[in-house]
């Protein structure tokens, strides 16, 4: 016989509903069903749930919106099955710090968009709101091609562009780190969503990204092209720089995301995380004394130079295969995060071409936004010259890079390794700040390199000489004597000349000393004016 107490317990038992909840969650776990998942695996791809599990700290994923989807009910109104919404998202941790993350489920209708009362992912979705409201990084695992013309039939009307707009995505760019990984074929909205990120990465061979895919291209232009040729990593990463880094497989993709975020603060109101540093800040590398050839025409390995100066093993290069005349990398000095921008003498003698300029512009803005001091390792003869360079608008892109450097307020350090010429050279200095420029004994600078300038400036004198070649060489030698960096140092036109082996120690001291300024100037950076 039931006591009044047990009767009360049974009457108030919610087990049937909790069972239904469990069943519905089970439906979500099945994704697009065994067959679709098997097909996805055959293509060498993991499912969105496997991807999330591989990326985040073990057991840290708290899913949100697991019940979303399209339910099918029997005649008595009981749930028969649910086709999940093709997007999985929630809160997780990476290296112990919270992140908002989500991604399309390709096994359900190829990850095309889904319309519930509220959007889960993509632009304007819950996942963006979570990152924005809680000021935590956003990670998009993109594997979908966005809207489809079939939605017009379902809705009964055509959707105006921007009904799910990018305004929140844009706001995120000034507040929290946004990372997007392209892990399948991305077109339309998801492709655009990927670009509105601070860091993008794609998987070689299995990911493509474009505004529109091969069928649309063929219809519009009559061009027959494979999706790999149109938007594979060679085009999107190496040629166009649409996506920053390409990686060999999904595991490398997750490693890259984790690595990138390890340099980033949670938001612009915080400092990037400092880590304990067991690499002595006063480490002197003998190799630095001989790394720059005395012969000015001979290039050297700037990446090796960078590695000798920064904390051991701390280099993470962004866009390594695009705009190769400049190297941009996140790194650490004495455990503090820095951005390093180094000219690469192996490519056009380090001259800034249009791609290098775009790369440098983005990287300066990234560092400025997240309060990451910038170290310039300078060896730049100027902007790239020639008809191709002019046709590509190198001057405009180059000046845009100079412009963003002059708007940036994060501390910048100029280390002149060899050449520092012209406007490109000026764009490596901290004009709004301390403007600390240190030079190696191999440094040289001016408004333009002497050998190029002499022929123009002394044209008549050279032409009228009985041996023009000899006269040109004489003038060059005469002017070069004045070009010694020590003479500029006498005039305090550079703040210091250092033994190359002292570079690390010098930079570590100043980066550490700048922490007070960084701590007291946190927050979003609003910039006015019109970029050229």
């Amino acid at each position: 016989m039931n006591t009044p107490d047990t009767a009360h317990t049974i009457a108030n038992d919610w087990s049937p509903e909790v069972d239904e909840l469990r069943r519905r969650r089970g439906e979500a776990e099945r994704l697009g069903g065994d067959e679709a998942v098997a097909k996805h695996h055959e293509r060498g791809r993991s499912t969105i749930r496997e991807r999330i599990a591989a990326l985040v700290d073990e057991g840290s994923f708290q899913e949100v919106g697991k019940l979303t989807g399209t339910g099918e009910y029997d005649a008595r109104g009981r749930i028969a099955r649910v086709t999940p919404a093709p997007y999985v998202m929630g809160l997780a941790q990476i290296d112990g710090r919270p992140v908002a993350l989500g991604g399309e489920d390709f096994t359900i209708r190829g990850g095309t968009s889904w319309s519930g009362d509220r959007k889960k992912g993509g632009q304007g979705g819950f996942i963006e709101d979570l990152a924005y409201q809680y000021r935590i990084p956003l990670v998009n695992l993109i594997d979908g091609s966005g809207g489809s013309v079939t939605s017009i039939r379902r809705r009964g009307h055509a959707v105006f562009p921007g009904v799910h707009g990018f305004e929140r995505s844009v706001a995120l760019m000034g507040t929290v780190p946004v990372v997007s990984a392209v892990m399948g074929t991305a077109a339309g909205g998801p492709a655009g969503r990927a670009i509105l990120s601070h860091f993008t990465v794609m998987v070689k061979g299995s990911a493509q990204v474009f505004a529109a895919g091969p069928p649309v291209v063929e219809r519009s232009l009559g061009q027959k092209i494979t999706k790999e040729d149109l938007g594979g990593s060679h085009l999107a990463v190496d040629v166009a720089g649409t996506i920053d880094n390409a990686v060999a497989n999904e595991a490398a993709c997750f490693a890259a995301i984790r690595r990138y975020l390890s340099y980033m603060p949670q938001n612009v109101w915080e400092l990037p995380p400092a880590t304990p540093c067991d690499d002595p800040v006063d480490r002197r590398e003998e190799e630095l004394l001989r790394i720059v050839p005395r012969e000015r025409r001979k290039p050297y390995d700037m990446r090796k130079l960078m590695g000798l100066v920064i904390d051991r093993g701390s280099l993470f290069e962004i866009q390594p295969t695009f705009g190769k005349a400049v190297i941009t990398a996140l790194a650490r000095l004495g455990g503090r995060v820095v951005g390093v921008i180094a000219n690469n003498p192996m490519v056009y003698g380090g001259a800034m071409d249009v791609k290098a300029a775009r790369k440098q512009t983005h990287f300066i803005e990234l560092c400025d936004c997240f309060h990451i001091p910038i170290v310039f390792l300078v060896d730049v003869p100027g902007f790239m010259v020639g008809k191709d360079a002019e046709a590509a608008a190198t001057l405009r892109e180059g000046m845009r890079s100079v412009y963003v450097a002059l708007q940036a307020s994060v501390p910048m350090y100029t280390v002149v390794v060899r050449k520092c010429y012209g406007m490109a050279g000026m764009g490596t200095t901290d004009k709004n700040g301390l403007d600390l420029k240190i030079a190696w004994p191999s440094a040289e600078w001016g408004s333009l390199p002497i050998e190029g300038g002499v022929a123009a400036a002394f044209r008549r004198e050279i032409a009228e000489h009985h041996d023009p070649k000899q006269r040109e060489a004489e003038i060059e030698a005469e002017l070069r004597a004045f070009a010694s960096p020590f003479r500029t140092a006498e005039a305090f036109g550079v703040e210091d000349i250092v033994d190359p082996r002292e570079t690390r120690g010098y930079l570590c001291r100043f980066v550490e000393a700048a922490q007070g300024k960084l701590r007291t100037t946190l927050g979003p950076k609003t910039k006015t004016g019109v970029r050229p």
Partner: protein
Amino acid sequence: MPRYEAKTDVTGSVWKIVTSVGQAIEAGDTIMIVESMKMEVPVIAEEGGTIAAFLVTEGMSVAEGDAVAVVER
């Protein structure tokens, strides 16, 4: 035998070919030197192998991304 083409990263002119056909090379070796922006820019072997052929001669103009040599692995 698998082959690959060594490419120049820069536009310029071939200044000096420092290897010869039939020569064994290792990854990281300089195959030839291209002069660009008054700098001697090496074309570096991505992988080791044997030089099978040169696709350029000294003094010839080359454009960024041009294949300049064939290497057999």
